[in-house]
């Protein structure tokens, strides 16, 4: 159940084949929802759930789906899961769901999900597909959480809504929040810096 091969499916998307920093997928939502940590975390969780279960379902159906209409079938499965996630968010964390607004619905178009289904779930058994979905969701999530943490801390001086900088009393020294951090362009630069750090540590990832 947890052979080395399966574990690798879980861990490699966290660094070596990270969906955001290596495959450069799902960038839009990574820029749009990471101004605060909480929505970023909820978004990461939602995408992980959708990726895992859509991979699982498609993998179970893979031998019965005619290949000419497979995209339609995949979309139906993914859309159903996204609506489910959206309803749950609205029921239990309404404020976060309002902040995420349209981006929950847009999980359907997230390249990571379709990418994993097309590249992995269609050719593998349900259990590895499920683990692969979780792994890629987490790889996406870890970048989102890092971005959300950095942007919220430097942009608003809070972490998960808790006013860290105010409690330390750093504002008395003349420090001011950096409002550029809350704008999407800075998120893009932050992603760039993460990619820079990752590639300088792991030379194999540098393109020729």
């Amino acid at each position: 159940m947890f052979s080395a091969k399966i574990l690798k499916l879980l861990t490699s998307p966290l660094s070596q084949s990270n969906p955001i920093t290596v495959q450069i997928l799902g960038i839009c939502s990574a820029l749009a929802v990471t101004a605060k940590l909480k929505p970023a975390f909820v978004m990461a969780l939602s995408v992980t759930v959708v990726t895992a279960f859509s991979s699982l379902i498609i993998s179970m159906l893979r031998n019965t789906i005619p290949s000419r209409i497979r995209i339609i079938v995949q979309l139906v499965v993914v859309a159903a899961l996204v609506i489910l996630v959206d309803q749950i968010l609205k029921a239990y964390v309404y404020d976060v769901s309002k902040q995420l607004s349209v981006f929950v619905g847009l999980i359907i178009t997230n390249c990571i999900i379709m990418g994993r289904i097309e590249a992995f779930a269609l050719g593998n058994k349900p259990w590895p597909s499920f683990v692969d979905g979780i792994g890629n969701g987490l790889g996406y999530g870890i970048i989102l959480v890092v971005l959300g943490f950095v942007r919220e801390l430097l942009g608003a001086g809070t972490v998960w809504g808790y006013p860290v900088f105010e409690k330390i009393g750093i504002y008395h020294t003349g420090y001011t929040n950096n409002s550029l951090m809350l704008l999407p362009p800075m998120a893009l630069i932050c992603v760039g810096i993460i990619i820079w750090i990752q590639r300088s540590r792991n030379k194999n990832l540098i393109e020729k």
Binding site: G174, Y175, T176, N178, S179, L180, M181, L183, I189, G192, W196
Partner: protein, 395 residues
């Protein structure tokens, strides 16, 4: 001079390969070539290839910036003494006050920027890039005088690392580093670089303001008139176009005096360091755009005489020192004309149409920096097509 040369020569072997301090080779090389013209000329990077090396070219620009810097220091003092009700302060008194206010900003910009440059060069083992000699002087000149020093440090670090080193150092950057530093502060710490108080030393801390004194720049006045829907713009800084041309008005440290900037422009043009095509076409673009808005004439700002735009705000400074940057601008002659013209036109467009940004020069130059390669591409394509046609006709 000879004694200095001897000292440098004696120290040199220590820094060569295998010497005691060979790790510090980049640092030593930077100082040696700064003091003496080296035997090598620039071979790559920025496209300047003649008997001068890059450091000499950069020094000319720094010299051209001196009039603006010196006048800026004087003006900082002048505005301050006007604000506290001592309009008759002596020239030297004004200058000394301004000197003490401006010098820390210059020092912070140079220390942070050169610190990073030296560190990176040392780590990568190549020679120190000269570009920052100019950027380090440009950054303080486009800052308001009351800017907190740590913001200058953060912005300079951002501009050097993200704006330049990431792309491969001097000669490889897409955007003008000095403007990038200003844009960083503009979007990060907006209240510290816009509004009516930051342009005069001490106003933000509420140091005595005389009745009737306003720290607003003429462009802020224009934006206010637009926001209020007033029929005409009421200018509070200076008594008219002559004051604006001389620069005795509130504004960024180096940008107020069009006269001092024109002296710098003369130096740049005489030595052939900057391109007259860019400079001329920026002014032409701004002026023609101003005339166009005069024709439309829907509100007070559109009715502003077109030449006002050329002497107000950072227009002249941007045209002379920022747009002419050989690295980030267009390279072809026709391209330079288009590039400059659009900078001027877009700057005036932003000023007049968007009340959120009273000054459009920074955004316009950064935008055209990004467009410059595209302009060059089409200029070169057009040239190839023209010559092809000629070839066919000859056949």
């Amino acid at each position: 001079m000879k004694a200095l040369r001897n000292i440098v020569d004696k120290m040199k072997p220590n820094f060569e390969k295998g010497g005691k301090f060979s790790k510090l080779h980049s640092t030593f090389d930077a100082f040696e070539t700064f003091l003496f013209v080296p035997k090598t000329v620039t071979r790559q990077g920025s496209h300047i290839r003649d008997c001068n090396d890059m450091k000499r070219v950069m020094i000319v620009v720094v010299v051209a910036l001196l009039p603006a810097l010196l006048f800026g220091m004087y003006n900082v003092g002048l505005q301050h003494f006007r604000a506290v009700g001592l309009p008759d302060a002596a020239l030297m008194q004004c200058f000394w006050f301004g000197f003490l206010k401006v010098m820390p900003i210059v020092l912070v910009s140079y220390i942070v920027g050169l610190g990073i440059e030296f560190g990176v060069a040392q780590a990568r083992g190549h020679e120190v890039n000269e570009g920052f000699l100019v950027s380090g002087m440009l950054i303080p000149l486009v800052m308001p005088v009351d800017i907190p020093l740590w913001m200058v440090a953060v912005a300079t670090a951002f501009a050097v690392v993200i704006g330049k080193e990431v792309f491969g150092g001097t000669g490889m950057n897409i955007f003008n580093p000095a403007l990038l530093a200003r844009a960083f502060i503009f979007f990060s710490y907006t209240p510290f670089i816009s509004g009516e108080k930051v342009w005069v030393a001490g106003l933000t801390k509420g140091e005595g303001i005389v009745d009737g004194f306003s720290g607003a720049t003429p462009l802020t006045d224009a934006a206010n008139a637009l926001a209020e829907g007033a029929g005409t713009v009421t200018y509070t800084g200076g008594s008219g176009p002559m004051d604006w041309f001389l620069g005795t008005i509130p504004g960024c440290i180096g940008e107020t005096s069009t006269l001092a900037i024109l002296i710098g422009a003369a130096i740049l043009l005489y030595t052939g360091v900057a391109s007259w095509r860019v400079m001329l076409s920026v002014f032409a673009g701004g002026y023609l755009m101003g005339l166009l808005f005069n024709l439309i004439g829907l509100n007070a700002v559109m009715d502003m005489p077109a030449y006002y735009h050329l002497i107000l705000g950072g227009f002249a400074f941007g045209a002379v020192f920022m747009a002419t940057d050989p690295v980030t601008g267009s390279q072809t002659n026709a391209g330079k004309l288009i590039y400059g013209f659009l900078i001027g036109a877009i700057a005036v467009l932003i000023r007049v149409v968007n009340p959120g940004y009273p000054e459009g020069m920074m955004l316009s130059i950064l935008f055209m920096n990004a467009m410059a390669p595209l302009i060059d591409h089409y200029v070169v394509e057009a040239n190839i097509r023209r010559r092809n046609r000629r070839l066919k006709l000859a056949k």
